[in-house]
Protein backbone atom coordinates (compact mmCIF):
# COMPACT_ATOMS: atom_id res chain seq x y z
CA UNK A 1 0.00 0.00 0.00
CA UNK A 2 1.07 3.52 -0.63
CA UNK A 3 3.04 4.72 2.38
CA UNK A 4 1.63 8.22 2.29
CA UNK A 5 -1.88 6.86 2.18
CA UNK A 6 -1.09 4.69 5.16
CA UNK A 7 0.32 7.49 7.29
CA UNK A 8 -2.14 10.18 6.33
CA UNK A 9 -5.41 8.30 5.96
CA UNK A 10 -5.50 4.73 7.22
CA UNK A 11 -3.69 5.07 10.52
CA UNK A 12 -5.45 8.29 11.61
CA UNK A 13 -8.77 6.70 10.70
CA UNK A 14 -8.02 3.57 12.71
CA UNK A 15 -6.83 5.61 15.67
CA UNK A 16 -9.88 7.83 15.49
CA UNK A 17 -12.17 4.81 15.42
CA UNK A 18 -10.44 3.31 18.45
CA UNK A 19 -10.70 6.60 20.34
CA UNK A 20 -14.31 6.95 19.20
CA UNK A 21 -15.29 3.50 20.44
CA UNK A 22 -13.55 3.99 23.78
CA UNK A 23 -15.19 7.37 24.27
CA UNK A 24 -18.64 6.03 23.42
CA UNK A 25 -18.09 3.18 25.86
CA UNK A 26 -17.23 5.72 28.55
CA UNK A 27 -20.34 7.73 27.68
CA UNK A 28 -22.52 4.65 28.05
CA UNK A 29 -20.82 3.72 31.30
CA UNK A 30 -21.09 7.28 32.61
CA UNK A 31 -24.86 6.98 32.45
CA UNK A 32 -24.73 4.27 35.08
CA UNK A 33 -21.75 5.67 37.01
CA UNK A 34 -23.38 9.07 37.34
CA UNK A 35 -26.73 7.80 38.54
CA UNK A 36 -25.13 5.35 40.93
CA UNK A 37 -22.63 7.81 42.37
CA UNK A 38 -25.22 10.54 42.65
CA UNK A 39 -27.45 8.11 44.51
CA UNK A 40 -24.72 7.12 46.92
CA UNK A 41 -23.94 10.76 47.61
CA UNK A 42 -27.62 11.45 48.27
CA UNK A 43 -27.97 8.67 50.86
CA UNK A 44 -29.68 6.22 48.53
CA UNK A 45 -28.52 3.33 46.38
CA UNK A 46 -29.14 4.36 42.80
CA UNK A 47 -30.01 1.93 39.99
CA UNK A 48 -29.14 -1.55 41.25
CA UNK A 49 -31.86 -3.78 39.80
CA UNK A 50 -30.65 -4.65 36.31
CA UNK A 51 -27.82 -7.14 36.52
CA UNK A 52 -25.16 -7.27 39.22
CA UNK A 53 -24.98 -3.90 40.98
CA UNK A 54 -27.20 -2.53 38.23
CA UNK A 55 -24.37 -2.81 35.71
CA UNK A 56 -26.62 -3.98 32.88
CA UNK A 57 -28.28 -0.57 33.05
CA UNK A 58 -25.50 0.45 30.66
CA UNK A 59 -27.09 -1.82 28.04
CA UNK A 60 -30.70 -1.41 29.13
CA UNK A 61 -30.75 2.36 28.63
CA UNK A 62 -29.58 2.43 24.99
CA UNK A 63 -31.92 -0.46 24.19
CA UNK A 64 -34.79 1.51 25.67
CA UNK A 65 -33.84 4.55 23.61
CA UNK A 66 -33.70 2.46 20.44
CA UNK A 67 -37.03 0.76 20.97
CA UNK A 68 -39.06 3.75 22.05
CA UNK A 69 -41.41 5.50 19.69
CA UNK A 70 -39.86 8.44 17.90
CA UNK A 71 -42.40 11.23 18.27
CA UNK A 72 -42.13 14.32 16.09
CA UNK A 73 -44.44 17.20 17.07
CA UNK A 74 -46.88 18.02 14.27
CA UNK A 75 -46.04 21.72 14.36
CA UNK A 76 -42.28 21.25 14.54
CA UNK A 77 -40.00 22.79 11.93
CA UNK A 78 -39.00 19.46 10.44
CA UNK A 79 -35.51 20.11 9.01
CA UNK A 80 -34.28 22.07 12.00
CA UNK A 81 -35.88 19.56 14.33
CA UNK A 82 -33.85 16.76 12.78
CA UNK A 83 -30.67 18.83 12.65
CA UNK A 84 -30.96 19.75 16.33
CA UNK A 85 -29.61 16.54 17.86
CA UNK A 86 -27.11 15.87 15.07
CA UNK A 87 -25.31 19.22 15.00
CA UNK A 88 -23.82 19.06 18.50
CA UNK A 89 -22.79 15.46 17.91
CA UNK A 90 -20.47 16.16 14.97
CA UNK A 91 -18.02 18.58 16.65
CA UNK A 92 -18.08 16.43 19.76
CA UNK A 93 -16.74 13.54 17.69
CA UNK A 94 -14.31 15.49 15.54
CA UNK A 95 -12.61 17.02 18.56
CA UNK A 96 -11.27 13.62 19.57
CA UNK A 97 -8.96 13.75 16.55
CA UNK A 98 -7.10 16.63 18.13
CA UNK A 99 -6.61 15.46 21.67
CA UNK A 100 -3.30 13.81 22.56
CA UNK A 101 -4.29 10.73 24.55
CA UNK A 102 -0.66 9.70 24.94
CA UNK A 103 2.79 10.51 23.63
CA UNK A 104 2.80 11.27 19.88
CA UNK A 105 2.84 9.95 17.26
CA UNK A 106 1.21 6.68 18.40
CA UNK A 107 -1.51 8.01 20.64
CA UNK A 108 -2.52 11.17 18.83
CA UNK A 109 -4.73 11.05 15.77
CA UNK A 110 -3.40 14.29 14.36
CA UNK A 111 -0.99 16.82 15.74
CA UNK A 112 -2.07 20.31 14.75
CA UNK A 113 0.03 23.27 15.83
CA UNK A 114 -3.09 25.32 16.50
CA UNK A 115 -4.91 22.36 18.07
CA UNK A 116 -6.24 24.28 21.03
CA UNK A 117 -7.75 27.00 18.86
CA UNK A 118 -9.37 24.39 16.65
CA UNK A 119 -10.85 22.61 19.65
CA UNK A 120 -12.26 25.88 20.99
CA UNK A 121 -13.77 26.67 17.61
CA UNK A 122 -15.33 23.23 17.26
CA UNK A 123 -16.75 22.95 20.76
CA UNK A 124 -18.38 26.37 20.45
CA UNK A 125 -20.50 25.19 17.54
CA UNK A 126 -22.32 22.70 19.74
CA UNK A 127 -24.67 25.45 20.87
CA UNK A 128 -26.23 25.71 17.41
CA UNK A 129 -27.83 22.31 17.73
CA UNK A 130 -29.33 23.20 21.07
CA UNK A 131 -30.78 26.49 19.85
CA UNK A 132 -32.07 24.90 16.64
CA UNK A 133 -33.62 22.01 18.54
CA UNK A 134 -35.20 24.32 21.08
CA UNK A 135 -36.63 26.61 18.43
CA UNK A 136 -37.77 23.91 16.03
CA UNK A 137 -39.73 22.05 18.70
CA UNK A 138 -42.32 24.83 18.63
CA UNK A 139 -42.70 24.72 22.38
CA UNK A 140 -42.17 27.70 24.63
CA UNK A 141 -40.24 25.73 27.23
CA UNK A 142 -37.93 24.30 24.59
CA UNK A 143 -37.36 27.76 23.19
CA UNK A 144 -36.62 29.16 26.64
CA UNK A 145 -34.17 26.35 27.24
CA UNK A 146 -32.48 26.98 23.92
CA UNK A 147 -32.22 30.71 24.55
CA UNK A 148 -30.86 30.21 28.02
CA UNK A 149 -28.34 27.77 26.66
CA UNK A 150 -27.25 30.24 24.01
CA UNK A 151 -26.84 33.08 26.49
CA UNK A 152 -25.01 30.86 28.93
CA UNK A 153 -22.65 29.32 26.42
CA UNK A 154 -21.77 32.65 24.88
CA UNK A 155 -21.14 34.16 28.30
CA UNK A 156 -18.97 31.35 29.53
CA UNK A 157 -17.06 30.92 26.29
CA UNK A 158 -15.26 34.16 27.15
CA UNK A 159 -13.79 33.19 30.55
CA UNK A 160 -13.25 29.71 29.13
CA UNK A 161 -11.05 31.13 26.39
CA UNK A 162 -9.42 33.76 28.59
CA UNK A 163 -8.42 31.23 31.22
CA UNK A 164 -6.48 29.33 28.57
CA UNK A 165 -4.52 32.45 27.58
CA UNK A 166 -2.50 32.32 30.79
CA UNK A 167 -1.45 28.77 29.99
CA UNK A 168 -0.52 29.77 26.47
CA UNK A 169 1.60 32.64 27.76
CA UNK A 170 3.53 30.30 30.02
CA UNK A 171 3.93 27.47 27.52
CA UNK A 172 4.23 29.64 24.45
CA UNK A 173 2.33 27.28 22.18
CA UNK A 174 -1.14 26.34 21.00
CA UNK A 175 0.00 22.80 20.33
CA UNK A 176 -1.39 20.50 23.00
CA UNK A 177 1.59 18.16 22.77
CA UNK A 178 4.00 21.04 23.37
CA UNK A 179 1.94 22.16 26.32
CA UNK A 180 2.19 18.68 27.86
CA UNK A 181 5.94 18.52 27.15
CA UNK A 182 6.35 21.91 28.85
CA UNK A 183 4.46 20.69 31.89
CA UNK A 184 6.58 17.58 32.29
CA UNK A 185 9.73 19.66 32.13
CA UNK A 186 8.44 22.25 34.59
CA UNK A 187 5.34 21.81 36.73
CA UNK A 188 1.76 21.02 35.96
CA UNK A 189 0.04 24.22 34.95
CA UNK A 190 -2.51 24.17 37.73
CA UNK A 191 0.18 25.43 40.10
CA UNK A 192 1.24 28.62 38.31
CA UNK A 193 -2.25 29.09 36.85
CA UNK A 194 -4.38 28.16 39.83
CA UNK A 195 -6.86 30.96 39.17
CA UNK A 196 -7.11 30.05 35.51
CA UNK A 197 -7.60 26.42 36.50
CA UNK A 198 -10.48 27.38 38.76
CA UNK A 199 -12.08 29.53 36.07
CA UNK A 200 -11.65 26.74 33.55
CA UNK A 201 -13.25 24.24 35.90
CA UNK A 202 -16.27 26.49 36.50
CA UNK A 203 -16.78 27.53 32.88
CA UNK A 204 -16.33 23.93 31.79
CA UNK A 205 -19.32 23.04 33.95
CA UNK A 206 -21.26 25.97 32.54
CA UNK A 207 -20.34 25.05 28.96
CA UNK A 208 -21.71 21.56 29.42
CA UNK A 209 -24.88 22.78 31.13
CA UNK A 210 -23.99 20.71 34.14
CA UNK A 211 -25.73 21.06 37.42
CA UNK A 212 -24.71 24.24 39.13
CA UNK A 213 -25.37 25.79 35.73
CA UNK A 214 -27.98 23.47 34.24
CA UNK A 215 -30.49 26.21 33.55
CA UNK A 216 -31.16 25.17 29.92
CA UNK A 217 -32.60 21.90 31.17
CA UNK A 218 -33.79 22.96 34.59
CA UNK A 219 -36.55 20.43 35.06
CA UNK A 220 -38.26 22.34 37.86
CA UNK A 221 -38.69 25.37 35.62
CA UNK A 222 -38.65 24.27 31.99
CA UNK A 223 -39.90 20.66 31.95
CA UNK A 224 -36.70 19.41 30.30
CA UNK A 225 -35.50 22.51 28.51
CA UNK A 226 -34.44 22.31 24.89
CA UNK A 227 -35.03 18.56 24.60
CA UNK A 228 -38.57 18.54 25.95
CA UNK A 229 -40.04 17.48 22.61
CA UNK A 230 -37.34 14.95 21.76
CA UNK A 231 -37.85 11.30 22.40
CA UNK A 232 -36.13 8.00 21.71
CA UNK A 233 -32.86 8.12 19.77
CA UNK A 234 -32.97 11.86 19.12
CA UNK A 235 -32.98 12.48 22.84
CA UNK A 236 -30.17 9.95 23.18
CA UNK A 237 -28.17 11.95 20.62
CA UNK A 238 -28.46 15.05 22.76
CA UNK A 239 -27.27 13.07 25.76
CA UNK A 240 -24.48 11.52 23.71
CA UNK A 241 -23.31 14.95 22.58
CA UNK A 242 -23.45 16.32 26.11
CA UNK A 243 -21.48 13.48 27.61
CA UNK A 244 -18.96 13.47 24.75
CA UNK A 245 -18.46 17.17 25.37
CA UNK A 246 -17.93 16.47 29.03
CA UNK A 247 -15.18 14.01 28.13
CA UNK A 248 -13.66 16.53 25.71
CA UNK A 249 -13.54 19.17 28.42
CA UNK A 250 -12.07 16.70 30.90
CA UNK A 251 -9.40 15.82 28.33
CA UNK A 252 -8.72 19.53 27.88
CA UNK A 253 -8.36 20.31 31.56
CA UNK A 254 -6.07 17.30 32.00
CA UNK A 255 -3.95 18.35 29.03
CA UNK A 256 -3.79 22.02 29.87
CA UNK A 257 -3.54 21.99 33.65
CA UNK A 258 -2.77 18.51 34.93
CA UNK A 259 0.14 17.32 32.85
CA UNK A 260 -1.59 15.24 30.19
CA UNK A 261 -0.24 11.71 30.06
CA UNK A 262 2.71 12.36 32.39
CA UNK A 263 2.95 11.68 36.06
CA UNK A 264 5.09 13.60 38.49
CA UNK A 265 6.08 17.24 38.58
CA UNK A 266 9.20 19.40 38.28
CA UNK A 267 10.79 17.05 35.75
CA UNK A 268 10.57 14.03 38.02
CA UNK A 269 8.56 10.86 37.66
CA UNK A 270 7.05 9.35 34.56
CA UNK A 271 7.91 11.79 31.79
CA UNK A 272 7.49 11.03 28.12
CA UNK A 273 11.12 9.97 27.68
CA UNK A 274 10.95 7.57 30.60
CA UNK A 275 7.64 6.17 29.40
CA UNK A 276 8.75 5.67 25.83
CA UNK A 277 12.28 4.35 26.32
CA UNK A 278 12.58 2.83 29.78
CA UNK A 279 9.29 1.05 30.41
CA UNK A 280 7.86 -1.73 28.23
CA UNK A 281 4.49 -0.67 26.82
CA UNK A 282 5.18 2.75 28.31
CA UNK A 283 3.08 4.47 25.68
CA UNK A 284 0.08 2.42 26.67
CA UNK A 285 0.77 3.21 30.32
CA UNK A 286 0.83 6.89 29.42
CA UNK A 287 -2.56 6.57 27.76
CA UNK A 288 -3.85 4.80 30.86
CA UNK A 289 -2.56 7.60 33.08
CA UNK A 290 -4.34 10.08 30.85
CA UNK A 291 -7.49 7.98 31.03
CA UNK A 292 -7.31 7.81 34.83
CA UNK A 293 -6.99 11.58 35.10
CA UNK A 294 -9.92 12.08 32.73
CA UNK A 295 -12.02 9.68 34.78
CA UNK A 296 -11.19 11.65 37.92
CA UNK A 297 -12.55 14.82 36.39
CA UNK A 298 -15.59 13.04 34.98
CA UNK A 299 -16.38 11.85 38.48
CA UNK A 300 -15.72 15.43 39.56
CA UNK A 301 -18.64 16.50 37.37
CA UNK A 302 -20.90 14.12 39.27
CA UNK A 303 -19.42 15.28 42.54
CA UNK A 304 -20.22 18.91 41.72
CA UNK A 305 -23.70 17.91 40.65
CA UNK A 306 -24.31 16.23 43.98
CA UNK A 307 -22.96 19.19 45.92
CA UNK A 308 -24.05 22.48 44.43
CA UNK A 309 -27.56 23.82 43.91
CA UNK A 310 -28.63 25.47 40.68
CA UNK A 311 -28.03 29.17 40.06
CA UNK A 312 -30.72 31.65 39.27
CA UNK A 313 -30.33 33.02 35.75
CA UNK A 314 -29.26 36.54 36.74
CA UNK A 315 -26.83 35.10 39.29
CA UNK A 316 -25.37 32.97 36.53
CA UNK A 317 -24.86 35.97 34.29
CA UNK A 318 -23.44 38.02 37.16
CA UNK A 319 -20.97 35.27 37.96
CA UNK A 320 -19.92 35.04 34.34
CA UNK A 321 -19.60 38.70 33.40
CA UNK A 322 -18.89 40.44 36.69
CA UNK A 323 -16.64 37.87 38.32
CA UNK A 324 -15.20 35.30 35.96
CA UNK A 325 -14.19 37.58 33.08
CA UNK A 326 -12.51 40.26 35.25
CA UNK A 327 -10.78 37.50 37.19
CA UNK A 328 -9.55 35.87 33.99
CA UNK A 329 -8.30 39.23 32.67
CA UNK A 330 -6.55 39.95 35.96
CA UNK A 331 -4.95 36.52 35.77
CA UNK A 332 -3.60 37.34 32.31
CA UNK A 333 -2.19 40.65 33.53
CA UNK A 334 -0.57 39.09 36.60
CA UNK A 335 0.89 36.25 34.57
CA UNK A 336 2.15 38.73 31.99
CA UNK A 337 3.83 40.87 34.64
CA UNK A 338 5.55 37.88 36.18
CA UNK A 339 6.77 36.70 32.77
CA UNK A 340 7.95 40.22 31.93
CA UNK A 341 10.07 40.53 35.07
CA UNK A 342 11.32 37.00 34.52
CA UNK A 343 9.96 35.62 37.77
CA UNK A 344 7.72 32.83 36.45
CA UNK A 345 8.87 30.58 39.28
CA UNK A 346 7.10 32.86 41.75
CA UNK A 347 3.78 31.85 40.18
CA UNK A 348 4.38 28.26 41.30
CA UNK A 349 4.81 29.37 44.87
CA UNK A 350 1.62 31.41 44.70
CA UNK A 351 -0.22 28.29 43.55
CA UNK A 352 1.34 26.09 46.23
CA UNK A 353 0.56 28.71 48.90
CA UNK A 354 -3.07 28.94 47.77
CA UNK A 355 -3.59 25.18 47.85
CA UNK A 356 -1.77 24.94 51.18
CA UNK A 357 -3.88 27.70 52.69
CA UNK A 358 -7.11 26.11 51.44
CA UNK A 359 -6.08 22.73 52.86
CA UNK A 360 -5.07 24.35 56.16
CA UNK A 361 -8.34 26.20 56.57
CA UNK A 362 -10.39 23.24 55.41
CA UNK A 363 -8.85 20.62 57.66
CA UNK A 364 -7.27 22.47 60.60
CA UNK A 365 -8.92 25.86 61.02
CA UNK A 366 -12.52 25.25 60.11
CA UNK A 367 -15.06 27.98 60.22
CA UNK A 368 -17.08 27.73 63.43
CA UNK A 369 -20.55 26.40 62.82
CA UNK A 370 -23.41 28.87 63.16
CA UNK A 371 -24.70 28.97 66.72
CA UNK A 372 -28.37 28.74 67.50
CA UNK A 373 -29.66 30.92 70.24
CA UNK A 374 -33.12 30.13 71.58
CA UNK A 375 -34.94 33.38 72.17
CA UNK A 376 -37.37 33.26 75.03
CA UNK A 377 -40.81 33.67 73.68
CA UNK A 378 -42.61 36.66 75.11
CA UNK A 379 -45.43 35.65 77.41
CA UNK A 380 -48.66 35.22 75.57
CA UNK A 381 -50.46 38.51 75.92
CA UNK A 382 -54.03 38.42 77.07
CA UNK A 383 -56.38 38.74 74.20
CA UNK A 384 -57.74 42.22 74.19
CA UNK A 385 -61.45 42.25 74.11
Amino acid sequence: MNKALLTWLVWPLVKFLVAFVIVQAIVAAMNWVERRLLGLMQARLGPNRVGPKGLLQIIADPVKFLLKEDIVPASAEKVAYFLGPILPLIPAFIVFCLIPFGPPPTFTVTRVNVGLLLILALTSTAVYGIILGGWASNNKYSLMGGLRSAAQMVSYEVPFGLSIVGVLMICGSLDLVTIVRYQEANAWNFLPQIVACFIFLVSMNAENNRTPFDLPEAESELVAGYHTEYSAMKFAFFMLAEYSMMIVNCCLIVTLFFGGWTLGMFGMGLTTDVLLHKIPYGGLLAALIFFAKVMFFLLGYVWFRATFPRFRFDQLMDLGWKFMIPLALANIVVTGVFILIGQERLLYWIGIATIGAAAYFLFFARKPAPTRKVMHASPVSEAKV
Binding site: L37, N48, W303, T307, K367, P370, R372, K373, M375
Partner: protein
Protein backbone atom coordinates in the same frame (compact mmCIF):
# COMPACT_ATOMS: atom_id res chain seq x y z
CA UNK B 1 -34.93 30.79 67.54
CA UNK B 2 -32.18 32.89 66.16
CA UNK B 3 -29.23 31.68 64.18
CA UNK B 4 -26.04 33.60 64.64
CA UNK B 5 -23.65 33.19 61.77
CA UNK B 6 -19.95 33.55 62.48
CA UNK B 7 -18.18 36.46 60.91
CA UNK B 8 -17.07 35.78 57.35
CA UNK B 9 -13.33 35.47 57.42
CA UNK B 10 -11.27 36.79 54.55
CA UNK B 11 -9.92 33.31 53.92
CA UNK B 12 -13.44 31.91 53.59
CA UNK B 13 -14.27 34.35 50.84
CA UNK B 14 -10.96 34.22 49.06
CA UNK B 15 -10.49 30.47 49.04
CA UNK B 16 -14.19 29.54 48.58
CA UNK B 17 -14.00 27.41 51.69
CA UNK B 18 -17.75 26.96 51.97
CA UNK B 19 -17.81 25.31 48.57
CA UNK B 20 -14.89 23.08 49.48
CA UNK B 21 -16.65 22.23 52.71
CA UNK B 22 -19.69 21.22 50.67
CA UNK B 23 -17.59 19.00 48.47
CA UNK B 24 -16.09 17.43 51.57
CA UNK B 25 -19.56 16.70 52.93
CA UNK B 26 -20.79 14.97 49.79
CA UNK B 27 -17.59 12.96 49.58
CA UNK B 28 -18.08 11.77 53.15
CA UNK B 29 -21.69 10.89 52.37
CA UNK B 30 -20.51 8.69 49.49
CA UNK B 31 -18.83 6.25 51.84
CA UNK B 32 -21.49 6.17 54.54
CA UNK B 33 -23.51 2.95 54.75
CA UNK B 34 -26.97 3.34 53.27
CA UNK B 35 -30.12 2.46 55.19
CA UNK B 36 -32.17 1.40 52.16
CA UNK B 37 -33.79 -2.02 52.56
CA UNK B 38 -33.97 -3.83 49.22
CA UNK B 39 -37.39 -5.24 49.96
CA UNK B 40 -38.00 -8.61 48.35
CA UNK B 41 -34.46 -9.75 49.20
CA UNK B 42 -34.21 -8.05 52.54
CA UNK B 43 -37.06 -7.64 54.97
CA UNK B 44 -37.43 -5.61 58.07
CA UNK B 45 -38.52 -7.45 61.15
CA UNK B 46 -41.23 -5.45 62.87
CA UNK B 47 -40.93 -4.66 66.55
CA UNK B 48 -42.78 -6.57 69.26
CA UNK B 49 -45.71 -4.14 69.39
CA UNK B 50 -46.18 -3.95 65.64
CA UNK B 51 -49.84 -4.18 64.60
CA UNK B 52 -50.15 -6.10 61.39
CA UNK B 53 -52.58 -8.66 60.04
CA UNK B 54 -55.40 -10.20 62.17
CA UNK B 55 -55.14 -13.43 63.99
CA UNK B 56 -58.27 -15.28 65.10
CA UNK B 57 -58.62 -18.05 67.66
CA UNK B 58 -61.54 -20.41 67.21
CA UNK B 59 -61.07 -21.94 70.65
CA UNK B 60 -61.23 -18.71 72.57
CA UNK B 61 -64.12 -17.19 70.65
CA UNK B 62 -67.45 -17.22 72.53
CA UNK B 63 -69.44 -16.15 69.48
CA UNK B 64 -70.81 -13.04 71.16
CA UNK B 65 -70.73 -10.99 67.91
CA UNK B 66 -69.43 -7.94 69.74
CA UNK B 67 -66.66 -7.56 67.22
CA UNK B 68 -69.13 -7.53 64.35
CA UNK B 69 -71.10 -4.87 66.14
CA UNK B 70 -68.02 -2.80 66.78
CA UNK B 71 -66.85 -3.00 63.21
CA UNK B 72 -67.50 0.43 61.64
CA UNK B 73 -67.72 -0.93 58.10
CA UNK B 74 -69.46 -4.19 58.88
CA UNK B 75 -67.07 -6.57 57.25
CA UNK B 76 -67.09 -9.22 59.95
CA UNK B 77 -69.64 -11.87 59.08
CA UNK B 78 -70.67 -14.23 61.87
CA UNK B 79 -73.17 -17.09 61.81
CA UNK B 80 -74.02 -18.84 65.04
CA UNK B 81 -76.32 -21.67 66.07
CA UNK B 82 -77.23 -22.87 69.53
CA UNK B 83 -76.41 -26.32 70.79
CA UNK B 84 -77.21 -28.02 74.03
CA UNK B 85 -74.51 -30.12 75.52
CA UNK B 86 -74.40 -32.12 78.66
CA UNK B 87 -71.71 -31.20 81.10
CA UNK B 88 -71.69 -32.98 84.45
CA UNK B 89 -75.29 -34.05 84.21
CA UNK B 90 -76.43 -30.53 83.57
CA UNK B 91 -77.79 -29.41 80.25
CA UNK B 92 -76.02 -26.39 78.97
CA UNK B 93 -76.77 -24.20 76.02
CA UNK B 94 -73.77 -23.01 74.09
CA UNK B 95 -73.31 -20.96 70.96
CA UNK B 96 -71.36 -22.61 68.21
CA UNK B 97 -69.63 -20.60 65.56
CA UNK B 98 -70.57 -21.57 62.02
CA UNK B 99 -68.95 -18.82 60.14
CA UNK B 100 -66.44 -16.17 61.02
CA UNK B 101 -65.33 -14.29 57.90
CA UNK B 102 -63.54 -11.02 57.54
CA UNK B 103 -63.45 -9.19 54.24
CA UNK B 104 -59.90 -7.99 54.78
CA UNK B 105 -59.70 -6.15 51.46
CA UNK B 106 -62.11 -3.56 52.86
CA UNK B 107 -60.63 -3.52 56.34
CA UNK B 108 -58.97 -0.35 57.57
CA UNK B 109 -57.23 -2.01 60.52
CA UNK B 110 -58.81 0.22 63.12
CA UNK B 111 -58.65 -2.61 65.64
CA UNK B 112 -62.05 -1.76 67.18
CA UNK B 113 -62.95 -5.46 66.94
CA UNK B 114 -59.99 -6.27 69.12
CA UNK B 115 -61.04 -3.61 71.59
CA UNK B 116 -64.55 -4.98 71.72
CA UNK B 117 -63.59 -8.62 72.22
CA UNK B 118 -64.52 -9.66 75.79
CA UNK B 119 -62.40 -12.80 76.03
CA UNK B 120 -59.09 -12.87 77.80
CA UNK B 121 -56.81 -13.20 75.97
CA UNK B 122 -58.48 -11.68 72.93
CA UNK B 123 -59.78 -14.05 70.35
CA UNK B 124 -59.25 -11.56 67.55
CA UNK B 125 -56.12 -9.46 67.75
CA UNK B 126 -53.85 -7.46 65.52
CA UNK B 127 -50.49 -7.57 67.22
CA UNK B 128 -48.95 -9.82 64.63
CA UNK B 129 -45.85 -9.09 62.66
CA UNK B 130 -47.24 -9.69 59.20
CA UNK B 131 -47.50 -6.79 56.82
CA UNK B 132 -47.22 -8.67 53.53
CA UNK B 133 -50.89 -8.81 52.61
CA UNK B 134 -50.65 -8.00 48.93
CA UNK B 135 -52.37 -10.40 46.59
CA UNK B 136 -52.83 -10.86 42.86
CA UNK B 137 -56.52 -11.73 43.31
CA UNK B 138 -58.99 -9.72 45.35
CA UNK B 139 -60.82 -12.90 46.32
CA UNK B 140 -57.69 -13.99 48.16
CA UNK B 141 -58.36 -11.25 50.65
CA UNK B 142 -61.65 -12.69 51.91
CA UNK B 143 -60.63 -14.76 54.91
CA UNK B 144 -62.71 -17.40 56.68
CA UNK B 145 -62.18 -18.53 60.24
CA UNK B 146 -59.68 -21.21 59.33
CA UNK B 147 -57.70 -18.94 57.09
CA UNK B 148 -57.68 -16.28 59.75
CA UNK B 149 -56.27 -18.75 62.20
CA UNK B 150 -53.67 -20.32 59.96
CA UNK B 151 -52.72 -17.67 57.44
CA UNK B 152 -49.07 -18.40 58.18
CA UNK B 153 -49.33 -21.19 55.62
CA UNK B 154 -50.26 -18.73 52.92
CA UNK B 155 -47.55 -18.53 50.20
CA UNK B 156 -45.60 -15.36 50.75
CA UNK B 157 -44.78 -12.83 48.07
CA UNK B 158 -41.16 -13.30 47.13
CA UNK B 159 -40.88 -10.93 44.24
CA UNK B 160 -40.34 -13.86 41.90
CA UNK B 161 -43.71 -15.56 41.23
CA UNK B 162 -42.14 -18.63 39.62
CA UNK B 163 -39.56 -19.20 42.36
CA UNK B 164 -39.88 -22.74 43.67
CA UNK B 165 -38.18 -22.26 46.96
CA UNK B 166 -38.97 -19.25 49.08
CA UNK B 167 -35.64 -17.52 49.69
CA UNK B 168 -35.01 -17.04 53.35
CA UNK B 169 -35.41 -13.33 53.95
CA UNK B 170 -32.52 -11.53 55.56
CA UNK B 171 -33.95 -9.93 58.65
CA UNK B 172 -32.69 -6.56 59.63
CA UNK B 173 -32.67 -5.81 63.30
CA UNK B 174 -33.88 -2.49 64.54
CA UNK B 175 -37.30 -2.82 63.11
CA UNK B 176 -39.86 -0.40 61.88
CA UNK B 177 -39.94 2.82 63.76
Amino acid sequence: MQVQYPKQRFSDKFLLLDMLEGLKTTLKELFKPKVTVRYPEERMEPTERFRGMFRFSYDRCIACKLCAVACPIDIIYIDVHDETIEEGGKKKKVKVLDRYDIDVKRCMFCALCEEACPTKPKSIWLTTKTYELASYDRNDLYFNAQQLEYWDDRPKYTGLPEAEETPKPKLISGGVQ
